[in-house]
Amino acid sequence: MESGWANDHLQVIRTLMERAAVYRRALAPTTLVTGGIGAAAALVGWLARIESPRGFALFWIAVSVVAICGALWVMRSQALKDKEPFWSPPTRRVTQALLPPLVAGLVAALLVVLPQGAPPARVWWLPPIWMVLYGCALHAAGFFMARGIKLFGWGFMVLGCACAVAVRLRMGADGLPALGNAHWLMGATFGGLHLAYGAYLYLTEKGKNAA
C-alpha cells in the first residue's frame, strides 16, 4: 500500500496548524505601528535634512531596526495577552522566511553607500531595491500567514519596480531630485502603505467575524 498520501496529509495538517497559530496574531496593530514609524521617520529625515547618501542609508537602516523591534513588541504583547508562547515554531518560520531578503537589503545599502567617492545619486536606487526585497520578504512570510500578506508583498514588489524604472528614466533625463525627497518616497511607501493596509485590516477584521 502506498503511504505518500499519509505523508501529504501530515504535511497539510502541520502547515494548517502553523498557519492558524500565526493567523490570529495582531496583524492590524503590527502594520499600523510599522507604518507609523515609517511615516514619522520620513518627517524626521526631512526636517533633520539628512541628505548625505551615507546619512540617508544609515538613518533608514536604524528606522528599520526600530520598526522591527516595534512589530516584535506588538506581537509579543498579543502572545502574552492570549497566554501563548511568543517564540513559537510558526513565529520562527515567519522570521526565517523574512530574514534572507531583509539581510540582502542591508547588504545592498552597505554596497551602495560604503565605497568612497560613490556618486551621491546612486543612493536613489536604495528605495526601489528595498521595496522589492521587502516585498519578497512579505511574500515568503505569506506562506505562513493570512493570504493578504502575499498580495501586500506583491504590491511592494510592483511599486519597487516602478520606482526603479522612474529612477532610471530620471537619471538619463533631467537628473534626480534632491535626496531629501527620497525621505518622502520612503514615508509614502513604507509608512503610507503599511498604514493603509493596517487600517484596512483593522476596519475589515472588526466586522469580519460576523457570520
Binding site: L10, K208, A210
Partner: protein, 103 residues
C-alpha cells in the same frame, strides 16, 4: 503492509475539507466562521456542510454571540474531537512508519 491502521482511519476526519477544519481548530482555542472559510479558501455552503458533519459527530462545538452588535459564530474542538484528531494523526504516522519499514 498491514492494512489495519488504514481501515481504522476516522472517515469523518479523513475528508480533505474536514481535515483542514480540524487542523486549524486543533491549533487554536476557537476560530470564527470567516477565519476558517478564508484560511481554507472554501465557499460558505461547502464549509457549512463540513462543519455540520463535524458537529453531528460531536467533534466541533459552535458558539453564537454578538460582537459590536453583529453576530459572531465561533467554532472549537470538543474533547472527543481533539481525541479523535490525535488518534487520526497517530494512525497516519503508523502508516508512514510501516511504509518506511518495508523499504
Amino acid at each position: 503492509m498491514n492494512p489495519e491502521p488504514f481501515l481504522q482511519l476516522d472517515r469523518v476526519i479523513h475528508e480533505k475539507g474536514r481535515l483542514g477544519i480540524m487542523s486549524l481548530l486543533a491549533a487554536s482555542p476557537q476560530l470564527a466562521f470567516t477565519e476558517l472559510r478564508d484560511t481554507l479558501n472554501m465557499t460558505d455552503g461547502n464549509i457549512t456542510a463540513h462543519l455540520r458533519t463535524l458537529q453531528e459527530s460531536g467533534y466541533v462545538a459552535v458558539t453564537k454571540s454578538f460582537q459590536g452588535g453583529r453576530p459572531l459564530t465561533t467554532f472549537a474542538l470538543t474533547a472527543p474531537g481533539r481525541k479523535a484528531f490525535a488518534s487520526y494523526i497517530d494512525l497516519l504516522e503508523q502508516i508512514v512508519q510501516q511504509s518506511r519499514g518495508e523499504k
